[in-house]
């Protein structure tokens, strides 16, 4: 019984995670400039990563694999904003001012 419930919860999380990744991908394609694209991609980075990894953790149950997955999630949640910030800061240094290009045809 609890196995079935865990399975259902796990698949629900995995499906929602897949949806978050898909929406992040669609957003990265639809958005007009680099900064707005990064916003869309961060749905994949944050929400997608959390949902997919927690979903897989439920599949793994109480084991070393779950602890490893938890640590992977922690590292992802620390490193992906750092990478996004590095990308945005590099764009700013390169002269791509946020807001100015947002309405133009192609900023990023």
């Amino acid at each position: 019984m609890t196995d079935a419930l865990l399975d259902i919860a796990s698949w629900l999380l995995l499906a929602l995670g897949g949806l978050a990744v898909l929406i992040g991908g669609i957003g990265a394609l639809r958005m007009p400039d680099l900064y707005t694209r990064l916003h869309a991609a961060s749905v994949t980075d944050s929400m997608g990563a959390i949902l997919v990894i927690v979903g897989v953790m439920l599949q793994a149950g109480l084991s070393l694999a779950t602890i490893k997955l938890g640590v992977i999630l922690l590292f992802l949640l620390l490193s992906s904003p750092t990478a996004s910030h590095a990308l945005a800061a590099a764009a700013l240094v390169a002269g791509n001012k946020p807001g100015i290009n947002s309405d133009g045809p192609e900023g990023g």
Binding site: P32, T36, S42, P81, P98, G99
Partner: protein, 182 residues
């Protein structure tokens, strides 16, 4: 025996030798990394043990070059209130993910980007990094630039910009620091 040791230790404590402390910190870090390597790999083949030891030492060398041991930054000195902060952050991530998803799927694209400056002159370096990273982690807000006294944040929606101006995240980061000092 014990009192003798204390007598010897006291002049050192009044004049802390920075070199010793850094060396100990490096040793602790190296041992911690090796322990993590063993835990993750679970294999005790000589080749992997040597590779683990070498990569741990390489990491210690790299972070030493980055000046990690020169500044007294110990990001791990947060206490259990960090878990409460994470739970709040998780709720924010869910809320703003839905908001950004709505913008992404809006048909024509409804954009109202804004640039907000968050004053952080009253935070120390670790707290600034925590706040900046938390802002970026939350979809719809992105820390673009860090100046000495403020973070320049790009917001996808007016609602996201408004919640930055309200500054609840910053208040929670400051509350963490208070807890840390106590």
């Amino acid at each position: 025996m014990r009192s003798e040791r204390r007598r010897v230790a006291e002049p050192e404590a009044s004049q802390p030798k920075a070199g010793d402390r850094w060396l100990r910190a490096q040793l602790v870090l190296a041992l911690l990394l090796i322990a993590f390597w063993l835990l993750w790999s679970g294999q005790f083949v000589p080749l992997l043990l040597v590779l683990g030891a070498l990569s741990s030492l390489l990491v210690v060398y790299i972070v030493k070059r980055m000046g990690y041991f020169d500044t007294r930054i110990h990001a791990l000195r947060y206490n259990f209130r960090l878990i409460g902060f994470w739970l709040w952050l998780l709720r924010e991530i869910v809320r703003s993910s839905i908001e950004v998803a709505r913008v992404v799927l809006s048909m024509p694209l409804r954009l109202s980007t804004e640039v907000v400056e968050v004053p952080v002159g009253d935070l120390d370096a670790v707290d600034q990094a925590l706040l900046g990273n938390s802002i970026t982690l939350t979809p719809g807000t992105l820390t673009v630039d860090t100046r000495e006294d403020r973070l320049v944040v790009h917001a996808l929606t007016a609602a996201g910009a408004q919640s930055l101006r309200d500054g609840e995240m910053k208040r929670r980061v400051i509350a963490l620091r208070r807890a840390k000092a106590a």
